[in-house]
């Protein structure tokens, strides 16, 4: 369905484009039809860039992206335009995703007009149908974006994306600006819609805990690379990479007794001065509590700790197995 093979992105800056920074450093994964891949990592790890490359808002520097066997990266603009409705993206901040001077009905009608799918009276019917699909009221159609709450706007964003009956949706932190209770509503809706319309989804998030509920598989990204990838159950059941473990340990559980385990879980401080391209070795070495000589010298290859599970770490075999503490919550490191 969706296959990403070794994509890279180098951004250049300066007058002579001499300064360059490799944001995505060779990322590969595949997502089966109707399934969800959770792409997880901290801000700046390149996950959003990967998402934007999939919908070709950013051109990859190298690598291939295949969608239903068609190579998106080599497609000519006219064919790409035909394919565009099938591949959609939802952005993080719904406030910025809408024209503030348009009513919701105009924003929702736009995809139909642009793609000449239906016209006239029929647009209104479709818009009405959409707004109800995402659990809003027809009266919301006459409002302006600023009159809706963040959660309601994100529902409208979902509706607009669904208008074109996409086969693939890239959801880039769709709920990170929302309250927990509203987040639960929007994510439940997204899951329901996926069951109904059977689209494939790449769910980008910095929160493993959220990604867990949405994803069949999870890929953890760190500094432009995937460091661990596998089925959601195996990532949570037996996380192998120290970074994945740290992310899991950073989850603040709403339980005062378990809450105190966060002390042990925090990572070494990042020192932004370390130039990893020059230093070589594992990109996590400066924050990793388990780093050894080999980690500074050699980049870790992808290992297979269990069937259908990949990890890029020299020392994953030496780490203590994960254990549950008294409260049943898992603690790490």
């Amino acid at each position: 369905m969706l296959e990403v093979v070794g994509i890279k992105k180098v951004f250049t800056s300066g007058i002579f484009r001499r300064r360059s920074i490799e944001v995505v450093r060779g990322v590969s994964f595949r997502v089966n039809k109707g399934q969800t891949l959770g792409l997880v990592g901290e801000s700046g790890c390149g996950k959003t860039t990967v998402g934007k490359m999939i919908v070709r808002l950013i051109e990859p520097t190298a690598g291939r992206i295949l969608f239903n066997g068609i190579e998106l990266t080599r497609l000519d603009p006219r064919k790409l335009r035909k394919l565009r409705p099938k591949i959609q993206i939802i952005f993080q901040d719904p406030d910025m995703a809408f024209n503030p001077r348009w009513k919701i009905r105009d924003s929702l009608g736009e995809p139909f007009k642009l793609n000449r799918l239906v016209r006239g009276r029929e647009i209104i019917d479709r818009v009405l149908e959409l707004i109800e699909t995402v659990g809003l009221h027809p009266e919301h159609l006459n409002r302006y974006p600023f009159e809706l709450s963040g959660g309601q706007l994100q529902r409208v964003a979902l509706a607009r994306v669904l208008a074109l009956q996409p086969e693939l949706i890239v959801a880039d932190e769709p709920t990170s600006s929302l309250d927990v209770s509203v987040q639960a509503q929007v994510l439940t809706l997204l899951k329901e819609l996926q069951r109904r319309f059977q689209f494939t989804c790449v769910f980008i998030s910095h929160d493993l805990n959220v990604a867990r509920w949405m994803s069949d598989r999870i890929a953890v990204m760190y500094r432009g690379k995937i460091v661990e990838e596998g089925k959601t159950e195996s990532i949570f059941g037996s996380p192998c990479h120290p970074y994945t473990r740290a992310l899991l340990g950073a989850i603040l559980v709403p339980d005062p007794e378990a809450g105190r385990t966060w002390r042990i879980a925090s990572l070494n401080h990042v020192s932004p001065e370390v130039n990893l391209e020059k230093a070589g070795g594992c990109s996590f070495q400066d924050r990793c509590p388990h780093a050894e000589k080999i980690c500074r010298e050699k980049e870790p290859p992808l290992a297979v700790p269990a069937p259908d599970h990949r990890v890029a770490c020299h020392r994953f075999k030496d780490l203590v197995p994960v254990q549950a503490n008294v409260t049943g919550k898992v603690c790490f490191l």
């Binding site: 639960a184 603040l252 005062p256």
Partner: protein, 311 residues
């Protein structure tokens, strides 16, 4: 008791009527304690923080009592209030990017507070600013950096450094972890713990947050706010173990660690509150009475209260 809020009301006048941002709020905060104020966006939590520090716009109608060490802050002349702000009570605002001055280095912004409130000379203030940065985990050599040069986590640390500048006895932190990565969130939680529980005598904090995970990790007591009212309060362990208000339960269930169970409906507009209990249109347990009669707070245990008929 360090802070005692009684029957606090904050109304804003708008074209469509009064916005009841805080509607009869009672709260108590003891010395050395961290009190969590949890609720959704638009429930009035931030307004409460601003009311305590008297930073609300002049258009707000405020009534009730905010006793800080027995002194009613709402009745204090502005001159006196300036002395309380910063030195006694200090606020860490949400969204550091818009709260910090983009044209001044973080060092200058901390030093400014020190010169203003503590009368430090330029040089002494600058040096102290460096110490405060170190204390909050920013290398002192970054003292001349501007807010845009810092990451989100570092900016939040700078905000905390400003809040701590005059060693206040009460810190009000408004959504200090919002918008940060989980790993950075943990670091900020650790830092907040260190600057409150880790100093002697321990400093009090009012922690305003929508994240129950953060509240669980830091607070001693909890107050849950919905549509301008406190609907449940109690010791943190007690509230989490034995939530009695249906809204507190819904909030806990919606957390990703607890299964992401959504509650139907939206939080009401503060202009047009439903009659009776504000939560009744979304409540699974609501009965006839809830739609007509506003419930009062019932005490259901030692220091545990709930605003619900059927708790």
């Amino acid at each position: 008791m360090l802070l005692k809020i009684t029957n606090l009301r904050v109304y804003f006048k708008s074209a469509d009527g009064f916005v009841k941002a805080a509607d009869g709020v009672d709260l108590e905060l003891y010395p050395g304690e961290i009190l969590g104020l949890v609720g959704e966006t638009g429930s009035g939590k931030t307004v409460l923080g601003l009311a305590i520090t008297r930073l609300l716009p002049k258009t707000a109608a405020v009534s009730g009592e905010v006793l800080y060490r027995g002194q009613n802050l709402l009745a204090l002349p502005e001159e006196e209030m300036r002395k309380v702000r910063g030195r006694q009570v200090s606020m860490i605002f949400q969204n550091p990017l818009s709260s910090l001055n983009p044209a001044l280095s973080i060092g200058e912004q901390i030093a400014e507070v020190l010169r203003e409130h503590q009368g430090l000379k330029r040089k002494a203030a600058w040096q102290r600013a460096g110490e405060l940065l170190e204390l909050t985990g920013i290398p002192a050599k970054w003292i001349r950096s501007y807010p845009h040069e810092l990451s989100g986590g570092m900016r939040q640390r700078a905000m905390i450094a400003i809040g701590l500048a005059c060693a206040p006895s009460l810190l009000i932190a408004d959504e200090p972890t919002r918008g940060l990565d989980v790993t950075i969130q943990v670091q900020i939680v650790e830092l907040l713990h260190a600057v409150t529980k880790g100093v002697s005598p321990p400093r009090s904090m009012l922690l305003i947050t929508h994240d129950l995970g953060v509240a669980a990790a830091l607070t001693d007591r909890l107050a849950v706010m919905y549509a301008g009212k406190i609907v449940e309060y109690g010791r943190t362990g007690e509230v989490f173990r034995n939530p009695r208000h249906p809204y507190t339960r819904a909030l806990l269930d919606s957390h990703p660690s607890n299964g992401l169970i959504a509650t139907k409906g939206f939080s009401p507009s503060l202009i047009n509150l439903p009659p009776g209990c504000s939560f009744h249109p979304r409540c699974k347990k609501a009965r006839k009475k809830c739609a007509h009669e506003p419930p009062l707070v019932q005490r259901i245990g030692m220091d545990h209260g709930v605003r619900c008929f059927y708790a």
